[in-house]
Amino acid sequence: MRKSKGIIPYLFVLPSLLLVGFVFFYPILKIIPDSFFKYQGGTKTFVGLQNYYYLLFEAPTTKLAFLNNLKLILVIPILLLFSIIFAFIFYSNIKGTKIYQTVVLLPKVISIVVVGILFSYLLRDRGIINEFLKSINLSFLAQNWLSNHKIAIYSIGFTIIWKELGFGIILFLSRLTSLDERLLDAAKVDGANTLQTLLFVIIPQLKGLINFYIVYHIMIIFSWIFSYVFVITGGGPAGYTTVLELEIYKYAFQRNMPGMASALSIILLLAMLVFIYLNNKLQREAEEF
């Protein structure tokens, strides 16, 4: 490593820090005090922990939103399973791999807004999915995918799977191609079949990436799915598909309650922080054993 004296390194990092400060540090520091105030008609009053109390114990929508985020977590095991299966198939270099790969990554390059609109059309009552089910005499399976409040959130989950699967496949495939081939050869020599190779040779090698994938997607599900919900259902029917992000957005820009929005933001940030901390701790413990 080179020793650099003087101010040059600081000149190098300063502009980026100023911008990161404006975009991240200042807003994070600002929502902490904001969350203790109530804003009404241009005046702000200190209300202590009232916003938090309301959100955690009284607000009808926070719990609903949180449960919806939890329900969407269900997409992660499905994504994980299919990502590994597809990556494994592509890894075996079946004919046409290149074309299949191109196709499966296509959904990832399209805006969530386009995907959301497309699926809101495909899934509507007289959309193609229901028409298709009717045409193959499975009309009993046809549902009001987006207007039935019991299943609408799962329709959003399905859309997320469709869009995100390609990313997982590519991720696991790039890890697989960097694996030591001798491992696989050894397994072959020992007479392991494909399933055994996958379960006992490959999956243990993928442990780190699997953990990363799960953690990354839990964070996505809790904090980066606003656009899906906003475009596909807008939180409806009757607020049944709302998620934490959408609640923050509504408090801030529709219900005109920035104090409440800040408090919910803090709750979300703290939850993420605890989650990251616990995960790191578990990781370290796992490494020690």
């Binding site: 805006s111 790039s174 606003f226």
Partner: protein, 272 residues
């Protein structure tokens, strides 16, 4: 046995590909139908393909304007973020200075901050400074949001450049700034292209920030226009799907041309 397995595997892959492609097919065929035809023939190929919807969007709704707004926003913000990240990444990777670890870690930690939690103060400071609806300033916000990820990727890339190259350049009399332009930039071309694509993809497709910071009708991005088109013309699916083409097709073309970089761009943050 082996052929049977191959057939089954290909069958599985073909069905999956159809599932992946079907929504695209639907978008394309619908965009070229009239609304009347759509109601008679919602799922088949258009009998008499029409450019009516695309014409309507470009001429009557001035979609070219939103298209150029988005191009400008994407180009500006991805360029700014690269310029702003190359220098700190080089410092973090190759220089020693007090507070380095701390500054690096606190920058990188910002990659896990959800946008929604910081958007209210960001929005009010922008409103107070009277910078809303100004594409050049809004692209600064986009750039700032991408700095942590970009610095992270570039730092790990720069670490892989051997130190000897720098010492040789120094002996030849290169200043620190010249090193960046003469040595670092040319050497990192593939990494920079990858980051341009990964960042550009995000900005082009982004909704939340654009929705709030570029509300003025003439300043909107194509994604925001698409979302409002859907709100106003839900029953006119061909028109909305034509709007979706404006958002989707450029990215599909760039993806097909530069697939290698997309794959790298999407996995770069993860694999390291």
């Amino acid at each position: 046995m082996k052929t049977l397995r191959k057939i089954l595997l290909h069958g599985f892959l073909i069905i999956s590909s159809l599932v992946a492609l079907f929504p695209f097919y639907y978008m394309f065929i619908t965009a070229f139908k009239t609304n009347a035809e759509f109601y008679q023939n919602p799922f088949g190929l258009p009998h008499s393909p029409t450019l009516e919807n695309i014409y309507n969007l470009i001429i009557e709704r001035q979609f070219y304007r939103y298209f150029f707004n988005t191009v400008a926003l994407t180009f500006l913000s991805t360029t700014i973020v690269i310029v702003l990240s190359v220098f700190p990444a080089l410092a973090y990777a190759k220089m020693n200075f007090r507070g380095k670890e701390f500054l690096f870690n606190i920058t990188i930690a910002m990659t896990s901050i959800p946008l929604i939690t910081i958007i209210i103060p960001l929005y009010s400071s922008f409103a107070r400074l009277n910078l809303l609806n100004k594409i050049e300033f809004v692209s600064l916000v986009y750039a700032g949001l991408m700095v942590p990820f970009t610095v992270f990727c570039l730092t790990s890339f720069f670490k892989s450049i051997p130190d000897d190259i720098f010492s040789a350049a120094k002996i030849d009399g290169c200043s620190e700034f010249m090193i960046v332009f003469k040595i670092v930039m040319p050497l990192s071309k593939p990494a920079l292209v990858t980051l341009f694509i990964a960042n550009g993809l995000w900005v082009w497709n982004e909704l939340l920030l654009a929705l709030l910071f570029l509300q003025e009708p003439m300043k909107r991005t194509i994604v925001v226009m698409l979302s409002s088109l859907q709100g106003r013309f839900t029953m006119n699916q061909p028109l909305v799907m034509a709007g979706a083409l404006f958002v989707g097709v450029p990215m599909i073309i760039i993806y097909l041309l530069g697939q290698k970089y997309f794959v790298k761009g999407l996995t770069s943050g993860a694999v390291k």
